[in-house]
Amino acid sequence: MSANHDDHHQAPDGHGRALRLGIGGPVGSGKTALVAALCRSLGPSMRLGVVTNDIYTTEDADFLRRAGVIDADRILAVQTGCCPHTAIRDDIAANLDAVETLEERFGPLDLVIVESGGDNLTATFSRGLADRQIFVLDVSGGDKVPRKGGPGVTAADLLVVNKTDLAPMVGADLTVMSRDAAKVRDGKPVLFTSIREDKGAHSVAEWVVGIVDAWHHQHAHTV
């Protein structure tokens, strides 16, 4: 007997499915705000789904639903049992289940965003869950954070430094952050933004459009 199309247990494979984009970063850096901004910017031109990994219950999912940037049914919340990094790195089963549920219900989709629960600098997404990942820092954590590195800062496909509007107030030097990030990231892109001022996070959205286009090109939909 072989796997049939009625069950929910297909192995991950890039063909005929959406790009899965992980968004991680420390608590309060603006992950949920970035997800909302991307939904605002990309919603009109892309078929989207969002999976949130809350530390507490469904707060982030509820925020996104209230923000009205995406159809509420297209947001699923995953609970992580006190361990947000486990759910995106070591045991991704519940997140994969949520991603595939969205694709089954609303597919075909162009992009599924998986937002991690706020965690520390070592938390990164498993390649079994996210095809690409963004790591979000904010300037109020201090301008030393990029220099300290950690897998999130060094390995993410895109590093976003948010809340640049606060830099003068917290004494963070954006030039230092930019130079240090470039050093540890081996040429991978870094974008500075203030989502409070740019509600659509347009520079990030433009980068996402680029990777989604490349993904489509590489894995044409067969659905």
Partner: protein, 227 residues
């Protein structure tokens, strides 16, 4: 055979099948003050093992036996036996969610007819012990090994959750788990006494407090665990 190794993998909390997000009622018990420290936790675990643990072990053993010669209609019947033993809708949902994730994961680790036929027979997710037994069969375990893995995870999940939620000394909590070794063996033994063709008489121990905790948990606004 490779049953011993497979049993260890299935019982390991690091098995990537979503188990880390379930507390087996411990989160709500902590919230309502029914578990406040190691003594309460020991009584919680002992009672859980003697009720839900024995039932889950028995269903896993039966599923493991069925996995040797699987048939979709038989999977549905065994799954219905699990349904009849879980009166709380919240617990049935949690059990099916865990079962679905376990099948997803173990089908990639141990591709087999046992797991394919279970996934086809119960596409929205078989009950967790049924899925565990099927995975054990796929991995080459004996029913007794499936029962042990099921009984073991029925107490390790809430124990780990209590460590995280109450900041208990993890060494002390592991000592509590070690103290359960004889009860764990008894549970696995009880699980395997019944003949495979007589699922109706499989153990069906109820835990009314767990049912109430599971239903209350769903109504609690701030939750870290799925169940």
């Amino acid at each position: 055979m490779h049953g011993d190794m497979a049993m260890l993998l299935l019982a390991d909390s690091r098995l990537p099948a979503g188990g880390h997000a379930h507390s087996g009622g411990a989160e709500e018990a902590v919230r309502v003050g029914a578990i406040t420290g190691p003594e309460d936790l020991a009584r919680f675990l002992r009672g859980r093992l003697a009720t839900a643990g024995v039932v889950t072990a028995a269903l896993a053993a039966a599923a493991c036996e069925l996995g040797a010669d699987p048939a979709q209609e038989r999977w549905r019947r065994l799954d219905a036996e699990a349904d009849a033993r879980i009166s709380s809708p919240a617990q049935r949902d949690a059990s099916r969610t865990q079962g679905r994730l376990l099948v997803r994961t173990t089908r990639r680790i141990w591709p087999s007819e046992a797991l394919d036929s279970l996934a086809a027979a119960v596409p929205d997710g078989a009950h967790h012990p049924v899925a565990l037994g099927a995975a054990a069969a796929a991995a080459g375990c004996e029913p007794r090994q499936a029962a042990l893995a099921a009984a073991y995870t029925s107490v390790t999940a809430p124990a780990t959750a209590a460590v995280r939620l109450l900041g208990l000394d993890p060494v002390l909590v592991h000592r509590l788990l070690a103290d359960l070794a004889p009860a764990l063996n008894d549970a696995a033994h009880e699980a395997c006494v019944i003949q495979a063709d007589d699922w109706s008489s499989l153990p069906a121990h109820a835990a009314p407090a767990l049912d109430l905790l599971a239903e209350q948990h769903l109504r609690t606004e701030v939750r870290l665990f799925v169940s």
